[in-house]
Symmetry: C2
């Protein structure tokens, strides 16, 4: 099966036919926000890579043979001995930043770098609340509580961006802070289909809203961008227990 | 209340009376394995620091005022403007490694460094299974399953150390790989009081057992070491809902 298409390798598929071009190989899933981070980092650094998308509900048999963790995102380093795999989105991101330093995404200063990592780590409860709002059948009061967490934690990012007074969290250009949290912002519009009018992002977070519009135009982001409509379509299938991995292939 | 003692600051306590000696300030809890990591890193690097231990069940009022996350471990950087706090044990560890590079604990090579981080991350399920075995009232079949996870995941570390053929995971001397996982190994003996004879670490993991004995003698480890007896005493109190934070003060 061919690589570098939006089709996902599933159970019974043959191994991807990568060409021996020396490029990094990214194993990803087109709708996974964690994998999305790695696409953004590679794009921002202009590091060429081949990609194979994996159907996570029905994983190909060959995948756990080549990558024993079975996880995505996984980056295969084809130029290292034994062509090993790296996993964990932020481990991969920092590896790429050290290995391909022409475009630096992490701050150089150890303290600034540590603070950036803490802000990225601190985003987890937002991602968690968002996931539960979209994918779990919750009673109204649970949803109200999740939405509270979601808004109050996002408020910290709004305040931080106001305090920094910069266009992006990283400064005049997007950095790892921006790219690491972007995948969820790209998907937040899904909430309109879940919580309806209660979802009023732009009114609540005017500074984040400006950041969102600016970041959306970044070239690295543009190269992997999907519309709220597409993200919502995928989420509906997944919520129904039938994730439609090849949504983009069949649309085009 | 004085700092640098094994007494924990609790509700109603006055703020720690740190001297203005320019040393880093570590907010910790004497029995917390995550905080333990930071003590080990500071000790291994010979970075002088002051410590204030925090009672996590009844936190001092002043603590969340100075460190809004309320978390430990937290490292206060007294020489940075506004004396900010860093949180997250591994973020702090990497910050210290970059800021105090005389004794390097992380590998220099980006790939080796990424692999080390993945191994540290991969330890989480072991720490999780251990925690549940010690602190949750589980039916026998749940404990059997947790013990299975615990042993099979540890088997990967045994195999990795055999494969590396080095005294420590990091090589001839301990590095961040060793220090990041040590706190749990120091506590594993608690399991004898929980699962009894089924806990036969040394027979199952002969290479890890050798590593354990060697690492226990490391000076950075020795400086913060507690006995299995003491760890077990603390765990019994905590399991009963009355963690005995000042166990060491009252013993001495």
């Amino acid at each position: 099966m061919a690589v570098n298409t939006n089709r996902h390798f599933g159970k019974g598929s043959s191994e991807p036919s990568f060409s021996n071009d020396g490029k990094l190989r990214l194993f990803s899933m087109r709708f996974c926000p964690f994998a999305h981070r790695v696409h953004l980092v590679l794009n921002a650094k202009n590091v060429p890579y081949n990609v194979a998308y994996i159907n996570l509900s029905e994983k190909p048999e060959w995948y756990s043979e080549v990558n024993t963790t079975g996880k995505v995102p996984a980056l295969q380093l084809v130029n290292e001995p034994n062509q090993p795999f790296l996993v964990e989105s932020m481990v991969i991101a920092e590896y790429l930043d050290e290995k391909y330093p022409e475009v630096k995404l992490y701050p150089e200063d150890p303290f600034d770098k540590a603070q950036t990592k803490i802000w990225i780590e601190r985003f987890n409860p937002i991602a968690g609340a968002f996931y539960r709002l979209v994918y779990e059948q919750n009673p109204d009061d649970v949803n109200a509580q999740l939405l509270n967490t979601f808004y109050s934690e996002l408020g910290n990012y709004e305040a931080e961006l106001v305090k920094r007074g910069t266009k992006y969290f990283a400064g005049a250009k997007p950095g790892i802070f921006d790219y690491a949290i972007w995948p969820w912002f790209e998907r937040f519009g899904i909430l309109s289909s879940v919580v309806g009018e209660k979802y009023n992002f732009d009114d609540r977070f005017p500074t984040l809203a400006k950041w969102l519009h600016a970041t959306r135009e970044d070239l690295a982001v543009q190269k992997h961008l999907l519309s709220t409509y597409t993200h919502t379509q995928f989420s509906l299938g997944r919520r129904a227990g039938t994730p439609h991995y090849d949504l983009l292939v069949e649309e085009s």
